[in-house]
Amino acid sequence: MAQEFHVLAVDDSFVDRKVIERLLKVSSCKVTAVESAGRALQYLGLDEERSPVEFDELKVNMIITDYSMPEMTGYDLLKRIKGSKKLREIPVVIMSSEDIQPRVNRCLEEGAEEYLVKPVKLSDVVRLRDFILRQKAHPQTEHNSMKRKSRDESPNAGCSASTSCDHLRPSIPKRRKIVQL
């Protein structure tokens, strides 16, 4: 039986949470939507009080989080996830209404998969889902082809065996901006 693509969506805005949830459901994703980074960490079993449910049952394929949230930002959440052995392989996407290059760079350097400028569109979600699914199926080749599509990418990206490809994390920031037509 095909596994569902499970996305954990994090956003403190009621309106945005409802929209992202719908975008993900329409894209055939299973969605868990939470209102804060704290809740997200609880769900992922990364907080002090361990969740009694086995993590594997909650398998999360992607985390999509708003950047600006009270108490803990999406960036801080990203750092916590990438700093965790258990969770660092999960792709994290940052969403923000603010298109600030240094912020984009910081997020990408910290390991974010993408930085999406809000409002997020259906085409963004579908593209992300497809990319991550292909990455899972073909870790080496797909990573390369995605990197070639990136705007600022250097032409000689060649990833041999490693799936995390940390050595390829660009000092040239990869940047994906969704242009409103």
Partner: protein, 152 residues
């Protein structure tokens, strides 16, 4: 059936005017595309959430701007939220007015902020009114046995 036709024409004309006059932008159409038979009230639900949210934000803003010493960081935070949610539903004029208000906040310009805040409220109530009319027209069409035209 003539009545339904009339309602449908009214709906189409009204919808077009909302986009032409800049009350709504493409994001509203994005939301409409997410609505289907399994979720027939999606747009109405999101917009209702927006109205609820906005009342709270406007109230908070009003209080924050009336303080003896205005905390512009706090005001800016509320405006940022309002800009975000209005952008998410495609309420373009509200969003743009929020951008102006943020500039005044950045300058810590109280007079400018107060004036601009009035304009933000004005735009909000305008678009609220328009959207309520739009939803009412939709309901009337459905109650008269017709289908709501999709606005490309």
């Amino acid at each position: 059936m003539e009545f339904v036709g009339q309602l449908q024409r009214q709906f189409v004309q009204f919808s077009h005017s909302l986009f032409d006059e800049g009350f709504l932008d493409d994001q509203f159409q994005q939301l409409q595309k997410l609505q289907d038979e399994s979720n027939p009230d999606f747009v109405l639900e999101v917009v209702s959430l927006f109205f609820e949210d906005s009342e709270k934000l406007l109230n908070n803003l009003s209080i924050a701007l009336q303080q003896q010493i205005v905390d512009f960081k706090q005001v800016d935070s509320y405006v940022h939220q309002f800009k975000g949610s209005s952008s998410s539903i495609g309420a373009q004029r509200v969003k743009n007015m929020c951008v102006h208000l943020r500039s005044f906040c950045e300058e810590q310009n109280l007079e400018g902020s107060l004036m601009c805040f009035q304009q933000v409220k004005h735009e909000y109530y305008l678009v609220k009114n328009k959207l309520e009319t739009l939803f009412r027209l939709e309901r009337q069409i459905i109650e008269a046995g017709g289908t709501v035209p999709f606005i490309a």
